[in-house]
Symmetry: C2
Subunit: 293 residues, 2 copies
Amino acid sequence: MRNFDENTITDAVLARIAGASDPRVRQISEALVRHLHAFVREVRPTQKEWEYGIDFLTRTGHMCDDKRQEFILLSDTLGVSMLVDAINHPVPEGATETTVLGPFFVQAAPERQVGDDISGGMEGDPLLVTGSVSAVDGRPLADAVVDVWHSDDNGYYDVQQLDKIGDLAMRARFRTNADGRFHFWSIKPAAYPIPHNGPVGEMLEAQGRHPWRPAHVHFMISAPGFEQLVTHVFVDGDKYLDSDVVFGVKDSLVREFVRYPAGRAADGRVTNTSHFHLNYDFGLKRIAAAKQE
Amino acid sequence: MRNFDENTITDAVLARIAGASDPRVRQISEALVRHLHAFVREVRPTQKEWEYGIDFLTRTGHMCDDKRQEFILLSDTLGVSMLVDAINHPVPEGATETTVLGPFFVQAAPERQVGDDISGGMEGDPLLVTGSVSAVDGRPLADAVVDVWHSDDNGYYDVQQLDKIGDLAMRARFRTNADGRFHFWSIKPAAYPIPHNGPVGEMLEAQGRHPWRPAHVHFMISAPGFEQLVTHVFVDGDKYLDSDVVFGVKDSLVREFVRYPAGRAADGRVTNTSHFHLNYDFGLKRIAAAKQE
């Protein structure tokens, strides 16, 4: 196999990978070559543009470390993460919709008791979050694991400012009670730009896009026999709901964070300032018998 | 814009980048999103496969440094480099065909005189290279700059073993004489595997492919008013000519390296061992008036 031109080289590469022993590797490799070559044939990059592409990918890789994942940001901002999410999470009636995990999840979040204040002393408007976890048929799920995490009043997560605040905050792991319910106190999160001082920020600027995400609280909920739910609840009224840089917003995930005056809150606690209250009832779907992930 | 499913998200991303001020950025971004989403929709990656892809790209980036460019290797082995080369270098009658630059070019190669031995004392079969540089109409080009570089007898370049050999070798920059000719002595290069101890090697193995390139000598030739020529001349008879891992072989670039017994060589030098002789006559094309690169 020699003498390839811009039309024959694709078949040459496909022939070369036809011997892959794993059929899935072969399928993905073949599709990658076909779509990648079609992209190149369509845009007809100059050598200089190709060099820019190589350099962009290299700088994206060099920006990745244990605190930052620039390739996930690239996937998020090109809509690929939400596309993969949509493919993997069809949502039956009664089940909560999913959205991106994002880069700020921490595996070892502190375990807290229902009713705790998880704000870690951060300044902001007090927020009471109440919620329930049930199966799609409405049966409450006791002892479900509920991970929550969200930004502070300025749009920063704890892990972005550990040197300043010293410890994890606005982040916890709860277990639902016998009624499948949980609640906790924290502060109201703010909208924030994704990290945009790297190649992805350079791409967004060239594409005429802002880097902002609307304010939200992350939830990851697990219960034996059910698919793990990864989602957010967004703050209704946020000005970025229709232009989330990672395309993560779904109407079913937007809720009013209701403002209440000082006095007795929904959980019985008496506050001497106004506070916000978010309630969300989550529905989990059973793991299908033949489910492979 | 909210509530995207696997079919509507592509238009949502396209709408978001429609405001790019540079039309070329917009064109490339739109094509990238369309082809990338089509690839994802076709292969329907699981979350785990998506995570593998993110990790593969991250490791590829981390493998890149001033001595190694894993993303160029990825482009080469997926046939993208030769595709970009074919798009950018249509070859008129009489012009030499092009092939990949490869990762071992060095900008500051040592300037040498026509007739010099550039082997740097490396062991191997002596090789006399003779050649000419002319325009496609046959007019000889005097004072053209000819960069040459090639591997040693074991398939390694100088820059891969600098700690052992101490200096650049099998690499030089010549200028053609008044007749547009040049010649030099070195050693016969060998076939070699591209660096395959990284993600690209992992990919090749999964795809059931070997990492070898057939033996060749690199040439980069420049003359004022002509397009720079980047090419190789391959050793006829090499067993990897039909399976070059980067798809770079063209019949017009394959030449017999003719073996001669001890005695007087073509340049008049007398050798006391046998030697090989390669001759290649290069044709350069004029830069088109409106050429933009």
